[in-house]
């Protein structure tokens, strides 16, 4: 008996706004407990809920980057339940009119279709103190704006899920919608999973898995839970029940969150305090105009239009910083292949040496382009260029000033070069003999010696030519 796994995802993403969804408290991460709280988000009566315009716009942006159909008039609704992290006893969400529907995201060989995306407020944080058998509540995250991205049950493997999440993260971070940091909780994923016989059209019993805090945990959880379902179906050892289960990463298993599965009645109804929001084409266009080029379009443009190799294009288009550096440098020095080579070669070597991840690379693009231009024009050689770039990267010095102060201009004067070459040949008779007897390797050594003599400033091409002709002549 072979089985197939069917999964759907609910991804909650925190929107990158300054203030909360319905009040003016700061939405910034990391404050002390209950520092960013006001009467409204602490559940006290008497303050009105007014939606954050930027949050709505980020919702529109999310609709655009996921190819979704935007709902022309949206409202907000109340979802009723009691829990200590929910100070008002209801969550303001979109039950009747989600901001958009029917979007899609492509992954390798497949299109994942989205049911909908809706905007809602986050809840507070609970800290459990087992010693004193109490729970501590922090309302800082209450009413922080979220979007919930609900996919259709299109996933079959854990790899598809992780690829989708990485793609989603790319789309959302590029568009400035969220910073999607799973470790900070700004991106959370719940997986709905069921298993059925291969080829069957009927869906099996579905369970929901929560509390996976990394892509690795998601993969492990999916593998565990799908096996648990399969085992249950094959051996009947366990009866599968529709329920929510919590993934425990330390133990490596899922645990039921409820003893008695009771479908909650959330008593949804429209929030009379919040006026409907009409989203017209003008507004949509103005949001579209602020969106940066999406990663996959950039990839197309770099490869198809600018002729860059696919590998390089993938690296650059996958990182917002590298994309920005590339775009900025191109404007000042219109040589895409050059810029790409410098990014892929020198820049990434420097950043990796410094232990800085691609997305955190920060460099003055004007100075970057300047260095590339100077090398291109033969004013400095490439290895000097790398040295200057390192100084810019670390200390943000001015390249031209630095080159002048340190006399790093490229030496191409034939006379000077010949003199240096002659000295080197004289000092290295053994190597000359090795060359004459057929060794090519020693040529590189001799070039290196000439570079050393010129404190690295010689024009390598000229050195090559002159050295070669001198050696071959005798």
């Amino acid at each position: 008996m072979t089985y197939e796994v069917v999964m759907g995802l609910e991804v909650h993403v925190e929107l990158s706004t300054n203030s909360k969804l319905f009040c003016s408290c700061s939405a910034k991460f990391g404050a002390d407990a209950n520092e960013n709280v006001c009467p409204a988000c602490a559940g006290m009566p008497g303050m009105p809920a007014v939606p954050n315009k930027r949050a709505i716009e980020l919702g529109i942006a999310a609709a655009l980057v996921t190819n979704s159909e935007i709902t022309p008039v949206i409202t907000f609704d109340k979802k009723n339940y009691f829990y200590p992290d929910l100070p008002t006893g209801y969550q303001i969400t979109q039950w009747f009119s989600p901001i958009c529907k029917n979007g899609w995201i492509d992954i390798t060989g497949k299109r994942i279709t989205l049911k909908q995306i809706h905007i809602e407020e986050d809840a507070g944080k609970l800290v459990h103190e087992p010693r004193s058998r109490s729970t501590l509540i922090d309302f800082n995250r209450t009413s922080v704006p979220l979007i919930e991205i609900v996919s259709n049950p299109d996933f079959e493997t854990a790899d598809e899920v992780t690829e989708y999440l990485e793609k989603l993260r790319l789309l959302l971070t590029f568009a400035g919608i969220s910073d999607c940091k799973m470790q900070e909780g700004s991106m959370r994923c719940d997986v709905n999973i069921s298993v059925r016989e291969k080829g069957s059209k009927i869906l099996g019993t579905r369970t929901e898995i929560k509390n996976m805090n990394s892509l690795k945990a998601i993969t492990r959880a999916i593998e565990y839970e799908s096996q648990r379902h399969i085992d249950a179906l094959e051996t009947g050892s366990e009866k599968l029940v529709q329920e929510t289960r919590r993934w425990d990463d330390t133990i490596g298993a899922t645990f039921s969150m409820r003893e008695k599965e009771e479908a909650a009645d959330y008593r949804y109804f429209p929030n009379p305090e919040i006026m409907p929001i009409h989203i017209d084409n003008l507004w949509i266009q103005s949001v579209k105009d602020t969106l940066p080029e999406p990663a996959h379009e950039k990839f197309e443009r770099l490869t198809a239009k600018l002729g860059l190799p696919e590998y390089d294009s993938k690296i650059i288009s996958s990182s917002q910083s590298l994309s920005n550096i590339f775009d900025g440098a191109i404007k000042l020095h219109n040589k895409p292949k050059d810029i790409s080579n410098w990014i892929m070669g020198e820049l990434l070597a420097i950043s990796k040496e410094a232990g800085i991840p691609d997305d955190d690379i920060c460099i003055d693009t004007q100075k970057f382009a300047c260095i590339i231009k100077l090398v291109d024009e033969g004013k400095i050689n490439r290895s000097v260029g790398k040295k200057v770039l390192t100084e810019v990267f670390e200390k943000n010095i001015d390249p031209e000033a630095y080159i002048a102060e340190n006399c790093l201009a490229m030496v191409s004067d034939t006379g000077l070069l010949e003199a240096a070459i002659n000295e080197v040949l004289a000092e290295n008779e053994k190597s000359v003999l090795e060359y004459k007897s057929g060794s090519q390797k020693v040529f590189g050594f001799l070039v290196g010696q000439v570079m050393k003599k010129t404190a690295g400033k010689a024009d390598p091409r000229s050195v090559n030519e002159l050295l070669r002709s001198k050696l071959d002549a005798d």
Binding site: M44, P45, G46, P48, K78, N80, P84, T88, R267
Partner: protein
């Protein structure tokens, strides 16, 4: 200014217990002033006391008679205060006012800021003025209303028409049901924040979180509020939402749509004629004036009309 005014316990004053006529909020110290309080203070009007007309200001939700309401209105009548600001969402306060020879000005929905008002039925809540004479009442109204309220620009001669003429007759018989469904639904939701956790009444004995919630709420809410919570839960619950709550919202639109002000400025009914006439103004968000002899409802843009002798 020369006036002194009392506040219903649902209008918050910073540093003073919010109370709202409920054991739940007896010791809840409000942390900010309601906008109307700020406006009164800047006009130098003295706030001389706080009154309760019933828990969460809800007399009249289930019955016409309420002793607490009668007593409160009469205590105001006998006091030296010129007016009481209150939230008469059911219409019981204005009806009682008329009965006791007083006046009640109920502004159009949205005219007076609800900031700092402990909410009951958000889509109806509006701070109004219980007063001893009309002129005083309107002077105080001018102080507490929002700046962008438009003055009326209708003609001088007012036509005032009895309720039967302009009032949508077919729906009249179900006003009480519509009011109960909408008010209980919204009120039940507006009191769900009172859970004994962050502020307000917390039960003394509880052995779990669940008990903290249920005991605090059961001990602190009165019978009427509990009934509203139960009815509210019922009308919003999955199976009942469409036939009750959604239906009531649609009927509300039908009522609003069918009100006819084309050939009159104000409609009226006497106290004898109807007890749920005020409900019409609440459901449609229209301004109304209650006098000792009658109640008047004006078109929403023409609140000012009610100042004239009618």
């Amino acid at each position: 200014m020369k006036y002194s005014v009392q506040l219903e316990e649902t209008i918050m004053q910073k540093g003073i217990p919010g109370a709202a006529g409920s054991k739940m909020l007896e010791n809840f110290i409000a942390v900010f002033d309601a906008t109307v309080v700020t406006l009164l203070m800047s006009a130098d009007i003295k706030i001389t006391g706080r009154l309760s007309f019933g828990e969460f200001g809800a007399p009249g939700l289930f019955s016409d008679q309420c002793d607490a309401l009668t007593a409160a209105v009469s205590s105001f009548a006998n006091s030296s205060a010129d007016a009481v600001l209150c939230n008469d969402y059911t219409g019981a306060i204005c009806t009682e006012a008329g009965r006791q020879g007083l006046y009640y000005i109920h502004p159009a929905y949205g005219t007076v800021s609800r900031y700092g008002l402990i909410p009951a039925v958000t889509s109806i809540d509006q701070i109004g003025i219980l007063c001893k004479d009309k002129k005083t009442g309107f002077e105080i109204f001018d102080i507490i209303k929002q700046e962008d309220s438009q003055p009326c620009v209708r003609g001088q001669t007012l036509s005032c028409v009895p309720m039967t003429h302009a009032c949508p007759q077919p729906y009249y018989d179900v006003y009480p049901q519509i009011m109960q469904i909408l008010c209980c639904g919204e009120l039940a939701n507006n009191i769900s924040r009172y859970d004994g956790i962050k502020f307000g009444y917390r039960a003394k004995d509880y052995s779990s979180l669940d008990e903290l919630y249920t005991k605090s709420r059961t001990e602190a809410f009165g019978e009427d509020i509990k009934l509203a919570a139960l009815i509210g839960a019922m009308v919003l619950s999955e199976d009942n939402y469409m036939p009750y709550y959604d239906k009531a919202m649609r009927l509300r639109r039908l009522i609003k749509n069918s009100l006819d002000f084309s050939d009159c400025d104000v409609i009226t009914a006497t106290a004898e004629q109807t007890s749920s006439f005020p409900a019409l103004s609440r459901l449609c968000g229209l301004p109304s004036l209650t006098t000792p002899s009658a109640t008047y409802i004006a078109n929403s843009e023409c609140e000012d009309l009610l100042r004239y002798d009618l």
